[in-house]
Amino acid sequence: MFIIPGFLIAIVTFPGVIAHEVGHRFFCDLADVPVYEVCYFRIGNPSGYVIHVPATSLRASFLVTIGPLIVNSVLCAVICFAPIIALNLDVADLPGVFLLLLWLGISIGMHAFPSPQDAENFSRAVRASGRRGLLYLVAKAFQFLVRLANALRFLWFDLFYAAIIASLTPVLITHATTG
């Protein structure tokens, strides 16, 4: 497996890092979680961060953690729609804007999954909640998925996820039009 240092991937896919932090920030605001500082992108580890007060409820913590997954996945699907359709036709003289959008969309999709730090914050919130209801079970399942996704990053899971999300809408169109 071809391994590239994380900071180089973050530089090449910097729009994804920015969208990831916007996702956290946006959902912090939605969940009324005060934010103190945001770094949308920097060269270093971590390549971006959002400093906020601990979420007061498991629901709020879940929203803040899942924010980038929602924002980045939706953006990836929308941005890649036109380029993926055009690429499927494999035509000569593809408009340059499609290639630009493909890079943007895949970059954003690659940073959709919450980071290990996000998963850790969420785990802490799950433990602190002391709840054992349906939300707790959903939270535990999500926590497991986030950890699994991060563990599989060295196998380019993030790129595969972005490719799947990018192809999803065209695949749905194919099924809808051909029955």
Partner: protein, 141 residues
């Protein structure tokens, strides 16, 4: 790529939180550029989308045994995008499988100048009449 939590309770000199839903000007500017690029691509996409749907309808038609409908759909795609490689290969496979030599020659014409991958060559060679095999030559990467 992370969220850090800070417990500010009880700190007299705690920093002031950022105003909700306020984003830096450069971020708003780049978001506007991104939206512009998406809208521009949306204006370009209709013929691509029509051709994409026609290509998949052609595949569905040939799978259902309706070769005439499949050819008509593929010609629609090639009318809009003559260089579309998957459409050219699909119509070539369709025509090469036709027993009429004139149709086979038409099919061969669609493959002119195309470099076929292993899987594509398998599909073409499965229907390629023996007399046309010398029209193809292997290429190295």
């Amino acid at each position: 790529m992370k969220t850090a939590e800070r417990n500010s309770a009880g700190c007299a000199d705690a920093p002031v939180p950022l105003r909700p839903h306020r984003y830096p000007a450069w971020l708003v500017f780049f978001t506007a550029l991104l939206l512009g690029a998406i809208l521009y691509s949306a204006t370009l996409i209709p013929p691509y989308l029509d051709a994409f749907v026609a290509l998949h309808r052609a595949k569905a038609a040939v799978a259902a045994g309706d070769r005439a409908a499949s050819e008509a759909r593929l010609l629609d795609v090639l009318h809009a995008f003559p260089s579309s490689k998957p459409a050219r290969i699909e119509i070539a496979v369709l025509l090469l499988a036709n027993p009429a030599e004139a149709q086979q020659r038409r099919g061969l014409g669609y493959l002119e100048g195309i470099k076929l991958g292993k899987y594509e060559w398998q599909r073409v060679s499965a229907v390629l009449p023996e007399k046309f095999r010398n029209a193809f030559s292997p290429v190295t990467k």
